[in-house]
Amino acid sequence: MSLSLDPEINELKQLTHYVKEKYDYDFKEYAMSSFKRRIKRILDLYKFKDVDELITALDTREEFFEEFISEITVNVTEMFRDPTFWKALKEHIIPNIMLNHNKISIWHAGCSSGEEVYSMCIMLKEMGMLDKAKIVATDIDRGIIQKAKNGVYSAKSMDTNKKNYLRYEGKFALEDYCREVNNEVLMDKSLVENVSFRKHDLVQGSSFSKFDLVLCRNVMIYFNQTLQNKVLHKLHDSLFKYGYLAIGSKESLIWCDIAHKFVVVNNEEKIYKKIKD
């Protein structure tokens, strides 16, 4: 397991500094423990002796940078992750939004390979509302967005997805929304016809529109508290008043300075409502 030595904090700082200067991506305020593991993984994967060698590679081969971004980010995701969360959306949140709207706008911030987006579209379709939704799905990692657009997943990953869908108590079967070809699963593309997949960086990008519902799940756990706070301001700006924000089931807003601009709607599933501009 340990080929390279553990990178030290000062080396990591050097790296984040370099990446900011040269490529204008800012990882300085990412949570150190996971960031360190990601860097160590890159060192081992590409057989770099130390962080210096990694910096040299980034300096001499610009095309390596996209790979670097893909490796730095944690893209692990599932369809209908936390089935009880999706049930809460289906039974309470979406119906609530639709009480006084005939359209719904949704932002998946940090959508990774798109499983969360397909889950949303399947849910909305089963509720007969897919055509009423305007969905934007963004991520910092271009490669993973392409994967989300393609909607092709390994057959193996579908086991978890299917189990989640069953626990979510969907109307049909997940198999109805995809077909298997050579150990790969091709999602029904018509589901995401009206989804706009784009690259967007939560750290340096600004809020670009307003939404009724923002999902930013298991993204901010990779940030330190200071950065979580900054990003929360952007998520807040991106919500209509009385819009909903959903974060990961083990994340929290309580230590952010604008926590009081939200109320908890569902504490188990970490769904909040913006109550103040």
Binding site: M1, A31, S33, S34, V76, T160, I221, Q225, K250
Partner: protein, 204 residues
């Protein structure tokens, strides 16, 4: 004071890992620890990925401590017992907080003991005690090695007593283990440590 384990009072935290066969030992240990045991404890126990609730309660029933799954970036408090949540890795973060992560499975597990142990040893250095209980794979062995390299203290459950001994044995195979103990002895050890730490703080 009678000292059986000759413990250095320098320790600041305890990590405990376990898998198959560790539920009985861990509940027993938690039931014997006094409510005011001063060190924070981090428990990483392999568990079903999709069962999010119930485990905290199950572990808390017989304990005078409240065992709680932390939220991401929660601050570490004296004497609290933290349990790695289902489907998340749990790491000790710089700045005395806890980070959760959904990274790939490590040793086929999420939460992985190696991640909790390695991150804790990075932060607590020689002031960490690692305890590895019964289990069926090698998760935790690399973490124990790291703890030892940084001069922390390593303890495994006696393989003869462990319901499944692959986990303690893997640790024994890769690094020096300071104590090989039965569950009752682990409890004895922790009680001695408890006394030691309390005496120390009551000194001027």
């Amino acid at each position: 004071m009678l000292s059986k384990y000759n413990i250095d009072p320098k320790y600041k935290a305890i990590v405990i890992g376990g898998s198959a066969g560790s539920f009985q030992p861990i509940t027993k240990i938690l039931s014997m620890i006094p409510a005011d045991f001063p060190l924070p404890m981090f428990l990483c126990l392999h568990r079903l990925k999709h069962v999010r609730t119930g485990f905290e309660e199950a572990l808390s029933i017989k304990s005078s401590k409240k065992i709680a799954e932390p939220l991401d970036k929660e601050l570490i408090k004296r004497g609290h017992v933290y349990l790695a949540p289902a489907n998340y890795h749990m790491a000790v973060e710089l700045g005395n907080s806890i980070s959760l992560s959904t990274e790939f499975l490590v040793n086929n597990s999420r939460p992985a003991i190696d991640i909790t142990f390695e991150s804790a040893s990075y932060n607590y250095r020689d002031k960490l005690i690692g305890i590895l209980l019964s289990g069926a794979n090698k998760d935790g062995a690399a973490g124990m090695k790291r703890i030892k390299e940084r001069n922390g203290l390593t303890i495994v459950q006696d393989p003869n007593e462990s319901m499944i001994n692959a986990m303690p044995n893997s640790a024994l195979a890769v690094t020096k283990i300071d104590h090989v103990l039965t569950v009752d002895q682990i409890i004895e050890f922790l009680l001695e440590l408890d006394k030691l730490l309390k005496n120390q703080t009551s000194l001027p």
